[in-house]
Symmetry: C2
């Protein structure tokens, strides 16, 4: 099963990596079928609360969320994924011939439109690695838990989608090792350059890999020492203080504005997302067959940083975003984080700021564009166009509106040493910088 | 009412400051009386939930809390203060003759045993400064809100007591100004040296001042640039990931283990704290008379860092503490944070680690000791002995037990640029270092 695979030479192109990915895709049998809720195995709606959970009490539960904000519009209800345990997203790093390589996995996830993408070395919920599903061991877990060998390069809790998860954090880790590491056939050592080139393609590097890669220490103007500008921190504190959001979980049964059918839970105006169920047949996962619920958002998202050179230095326009599921009200997101069906009914000043600057950008202004999937273990066909768009003074003034701030990529990546400054969409875009997929 | 007061010369002793404090104490009329709950004005128990709240819906509410932890002992219930709004704790800084001075306030708080202590320039809940109680303006607030003048030295959200508050944060700010600042008679410019000397006395510098002073940028070995050791951050992440705590508010009525009488809510075995009510008559607060609930803990606490020189550099033994009210499960606390009545029934290995090393320390090993009060606006007679105790290799080995780590004071103060790494008790002790009250 396992062998010591020599790493590809750094100069090697992508063809070999893509061939390997196709070969792994062919080697496993993947089938994902939408099913009715009553065909779920082990999952059911609680007779009292209507919450959708697993009989083991582990994995995750779909509950209702009631959200009220002070001075920020009407209250709302929505389904939400509650998964309090902290998972591990870990990438193993090792130098070959002086070049750091990253051990990446070809991993199937049922929600991805192409099913198989490149994931971190370890991508495991606590339920996974404590064997709630009685499956196989999680490979390479020993490098990320307990009295581990190796040098930790990054180790930080980061949030995931605050619109879909209630206070979810995963542990993002990069660990460098020196000794021999047996590489299983579903795993492969890739250089940062290769990963950066793969990130320019649609749907190859999965979300879990992207968020870990964003946390890679990134040399800034002053070397590796983190530089946290007090002005940026003070603005962040002000934004976090200014918003009062009360979000509490409530029973999923009878959730106002949402309707449960045999195969989906939908918003009564068809907005936001559906809750659906799928049956999965797979050879490469820890267990060979399972069923599970997924959230399926409506339509292709648009997620973008506007960028400008200020004093010769590239800056990104960050947005202090309230998402109901954040543990602490506000995190920094991209300039635009837009899901068409959430906003299609809005016009004029209710439309998201800066959206038109992104949608109307000409080819010369688009510095980066690729489609990426959100976590395919929880979300089905959740894709977004991710962009860096160069803006001019008209579209994006130096003195931006309240809630927005120009920051350097280096300031932002330095914040990734700490919890919950940057949301997962911003981290996807920052991973394009730490891997060199885009240079500003 | 206000005049431009010349600052005291830096070389000046404490006598003048203490005289001023006594003079302010005499100038105001302070009376605090315990009262029955039904003598509260504007506060009442909700007829359905039994929660104790104010008719305006602002200030704070006393509710019940139900806490379960995974792999960490039995569940419990307790009353908790719910105060979701973020207050401002701000100190104004200004140089006189090249020496930084801090504008401190002589402020009465009903829970303090000596009522009047030295507080930050601004210590205001959002209810305060948005006038929920229709009182006078909060002085100097304009330096800490909106388009303010001055240079921000620190601006960060920090937690307060996780055993008594549910996810409470306050904004800790230090702002340096250059222009003239009119000093009201209840305010006075103090040097850091003076503050450090006052911190060596019992119950002079209040908790709100201490937590802000802890956030003062503190020059470390490499200057002011924050140095965050990845080993420390990784250990913190591991501790935060390892604990799963579920805390949810529940109705105060019928809270298991607690009994409500006419004048107090008490634990059935007399442990932890009582909820009581007081009537306050004051001339120096925004309003002249009010009533309110307070939490009154049982007995004098013991809060201490053990310290050792490692490789010639002073280190503190920090403890990764779970407190049910923390927004994120774990923060770093002192080596010992002990309230006798919570533990008096425990023996042997159930007694808190390192407690005996603190209680048994001889005079030569005690590098610092003073009694300080916790926030007197919420807590009555909540005092603790705060200590730095020099430990030997027997009492405190270099390889400490799980949940403990040796860190330098500089590493810890650098973490105070960010949210929720260090709990409020650790911050009190660190303020003794940033002000020079103790030198290790």
């Amino acid at each position: 099963m396992s062998a010591r695979t020599a790493p590809p030479a750094p100069a090697e192109g992508l063809r070999d990596v893509l061939d390997w990915l196709e070969e792994r895709r062919a080697a496993h049998r993947f089938e994902v079928e939408p099913i009715a809720f009553d065909a779920l195995d082990g999952w059911s709606f609680d007779p009292v609360t209507g919450d959708l959970g697993h009989r083991s009490g582990r994995f995750f539960t779909v509950r209702g969320l009631h959200v009220t904000t002070k001075d920020a519009g009407p209250a709302w209800h929505q389904p939400i994924i509650v998964q309090p345990e902290v998972g591990i997203l870990g990438i193993l790093v090792k130098e070959f011939d002086g070049v750091p390589h990253f051990l990446m996995q070809a991993k199937m996830e049922p929600g991805n439109s192409n099913l198989l993408q490149i994931s971190p070395t370890v991508q495991a919920t606590r339920s996974n690695y404590t064997k709630a599903h009685k499956g196989a061991d999680v490979r390479y877990l020993e490098y990320f838990r307990g009295a581990r060998q190796g040098r930790v390069l990054a180790d930080v809790l980061q949030s995931e989608h605050g619109s879909w998860f209630f206070r979810k954090s995963n542990r993002n880790m990069l660990v460098e090792v020196e000794g021999d590491v047996p590489a299983h056939e579903d795993f492969r050592w890739l250089t940062l350059q290769q990963i950066g080139r793969l990130l320019r393609r649609d749907n190859v590097i999965n979300m879990d890999a992207r968020t870990v890669l964003a946390c890679l220490p990134w040399p800034g103007p002053g070397g590796l020492a983190p530089h946290q500008d007090i002005a940026l921190l003070s603005w962040f504190t002000e934004e976090r203080s200014a918003h009062e959001v009360h979000a509490r979980t409530v029973p999923l049964a009878g959730l106002p504005g949402w309707r449960r059918g045999a195969r989906s839970i939908v918003h009564e105006e068809g907005r936001y997302f559906d809750v659906v169920a799928v049956s999965v047949q797979a050879g490469s996962r820890e267990v060979a067959h399972w069923t599970q619920p997924l959230f399926e958002p409506k339509g292709l998202g648009v997620t973008a940083f506007l960028t400008r050179r200020i004093g010769g230095v590239p800056h990104l326009l960050v947005h202090a975003r309230v998402e109901a599921g954040f543990a602490e009200t506000v995190e920094l997101g991209p300039t635009v984080q837009y899901t068409p069906s959430n906003y299609a009914h809005l016009t004029g000043s209710d439309r998201p700021l800066f959206l038109d600057a992104v949608l109307g950008a000409g080819p010369a202004a688009i510095r980066y564009e690729a489609r990426h999937s959100e976590e395919g273990g929880r979300f089905r066909n959740a894709e977004s166009r991710y962009l860096f768009v160069e803006a001019d003074a008209v579209a994006a003034p130096l003195d931006p509106p309240p809630g927005y701030l120009w920051a350097t990529p280096y300031q932002l990546t330095a914040l990734l040493r700490h919890n919950h400054y940057l949301n997962v969409q911003a981290r996807t875009l920052l991973s394009c910088l730490t891997t060199g997929a885009v240079r500003l």
